[in-house]
Subunit: 359 residues, 2 copies
DNA sequence: TAGTCTTAGGTAAACGTTTACCCTGGCGCC
DNA sequence: GGCGCCAGGGTAAACGTTTACCTAAGACTA
């Protein structure tokens, strides 16, 4: 039925003419324009563009099409492709706070790795808020994202709904909330907590303290539990009075330290849930004139790249932020390529103790 | 012609049946499903969804539609809308390095503000590379982004092409490269550089130095020139020997400081192009046993939020990162709403000197 | 009462792709 | 010579929306 073909052709011709007359911004060329210029059908152009079924076109045809594409500076519109295939080339990165050095390092790694497999990253700051997380989860579904990279998941109704809808979610750093499950990439926080305890034990610190993060976060909880359990196993004192908790911010670390260091007797070493909290604790130590680490040793978590320059007094757990990206990329590939290869359920990254002792 | 209607209906019915049998993941509901359930036409559903021409539906119809939407958990697919309107709800944020504290603070602000006007942000790390910048520029055009927020533009052929294609670009922090123009949001770097000079003059520092950034970046260049010119105006010495340049990294700042502080005589104060470079310079001072700021005063730029805690010795220019987002949002609105309101060509944000002097 | 306006809503085309299917001509095989 | 097969490529439907246009029925006016 050439009617349809004719209509299309006409519409295009009209537009081309309008452009010629108006002399304004050139309307973006479509696949039809390319087909017309190359003297082939749109199907052929599509095949060339997608390098798919390329054997179905003779070399000379391919060349003609390529030439036309170059001449028109043709770029296939994503929306058309998405609508047709019902698959986008987008992933969403949900992140508590891009301002946090550790998270932004992970974001960097993710963006790089994901781009390599030809996806674009939508940045979503959740601010640890369940409502925001849900809003994003909803919106991302309507974008047909290929995956949601959930860095620092929090419990929320929308998360359960999304999981029920089979939205492909990869949990990063923090495992899925209780009752849910899904692929995870991150370190073994429990083991890391234990490692800190072992270090403290080796140092013969007799009285140890802890400033832990929110215990609803598996990451915070496990690193604290590993630390606590290992210490208990070695009969090193971790008194309730030497434990404080808070949010993973500098201010929160400061407040906790204010309480922890008020009396005469104080812990010889404190394990903080992340570097930021350790910075806050450090501030308090300085106010009290306590030398770090000689009088009070602080141990952080994440290893902010700035530590080397600005916090040479801080020992910490190095989390390999640059390996998050490749790991999630692997998972994304496994998820979309349903070809047998099972999606790995967990990718555990190695961590490393970084010991610093400068004044 | 009910044939078309019938076809659609049939297709849907088939799918629904398939789902019922397979019991697998429910296919996402479409606008047709909603229309069918509510007993109205798709046009009506669309009107309700878009709150557009809402007066064209009676309250009872609107209620019916809303109910159906809720029951089906319907979320309109972006791709359909984009294809039809040829407008997306996406903006691209091109950023040299999300890992840099200043840039990530700006990214945070942008994401927040842009989300408020219902856009999603695509994160693109350019790493200051012209090639990467061009690759992104291309890709973003095919995404039909509503705007490209170009933080730290670098010269590149693709940038010129994109500008010629009328891609709406907002230059942030760094102005458009020579020969190009476009809306800009950022501070008056020249004035900021002058302000630092004025401060040094007031402090009666007699010998001043500078570690500047890449001079092809308008931001780096202007802040250096403002500083240099103002110093010259007050006949304060800024000898060529006391000037070094480099990339905006800690390591680069360190190297520059190594050269600047090697001899016996040395500048009393050094203006660094950003905080990171100042951190590097600080490290060198410590190695040389020089007290900061008592023996060597360091001045940075950007005001990393960590400074307060980790670098109390660093005076700096506070750049209001949280105001970038609202500013670009305003520009984006002006760009898309072609209704008379001219796009402001420049939004200058206020800066502020932050003076710190702790040991 | 005929004409005009408004209100409420339906119809179908169009956006740019991809891809299942169809077609045609040439070649090898029996 | 009839047959199947393959390579190369075209046709048109379909993806889910939005929206210009159409319609029908009531309300108002002259």
């Amino acid at each position: 039925m050439p009617a349809s073909r004719g209509l299309r052709g006409e519409a295009r011709a009209k537009r081309a003419k309008a452009v010629a007359f108006a002399g304004g911004a050139r309307a973006a060329p479509t696949i039809d324009d390319v087909a017309a210029l190359a003297g082939v059908s749109v199907a052929t152009v599509s095949r060339v563009v997608n390098e798919k079924a390329l054997k179905r076109a003779s070399p000379v045809t391919v060349a003609k099409v390529r030439e036309a594409i170059a001449e028109l500076d043709y770029r296939p519109l994503r929306a058309g492709r998405v609508l047709r295939t019902l698959k986008s080339h987008l992933v969403a990165l949900l992140i508590p706070d891009i301002t946090n050095a550790f998270y932004s390092a992970v974001a960097h790694s993710v963006e790089l790795a994901v781009r390599e497999i030809d996806y674009a990253t939508i940045l979503c700051n959740t601010d640890e808020s369940p409502d925001l997380q849900d809003a994003y989860l909803n919106e991302m579904q309507s974008h047909l994202v290929r995956g949601v990279l959930l860095l620092g998941a929090v419990e929320s109704p929308g998360l359960r709904r999304a999981a029920a809808n089979r939205l492909p979610i990869v949990y990063m750093n923090r495992k899925a909330p209780p009752g849910l499950s899904g692929p995870f990439v991150g370190i073994d926080n429990y083991a890391a907590g234990q490692a800190v305890a072992v270090h403290f034990i080796r140092q013969r610190y007799e009285r140890c303290g802890a400033i832990h993060g929110p215990l609803h976060s598996s990451a915070s909880r496990e690193r604290f539990e590993g630390y606590r359990d290992r210490l208990a196993g070695a009969s090193v004192e971790l008194a309730a009075a030497d434990i404080r908790g808070g949010r993973l911010t500098i201010e929160s670390g400061y407040s906790a330290a204010v309480e922890l260091l008020d009396g005469g007797a104080r812990p010889r070493a404190i394990f903080c849930a992340n570097d930021a909290m350790a910075y806050g604790a450090y501030q308090r130590c300085r106010e009290l004139g306590l030398k770090v680490p000689d009088e009070v040793a602080l141990f952080g978590f994440d290893d902010n790249p700035l530590n080397q320059w600005l916090a040479p007094w801080l020992s910490t757990i190095h989390v390999p932020h640059d390996r998050f990206g490749p790991a999630v990329a692997r998972m994304l590939c496994a998820i979309s390529g349903q070809n047998g290869e099972e999606t790995p359920h967990t990718i555990l990254l190695p961590f490393r103790l970084v010991l610093r002792a400068s004044a």
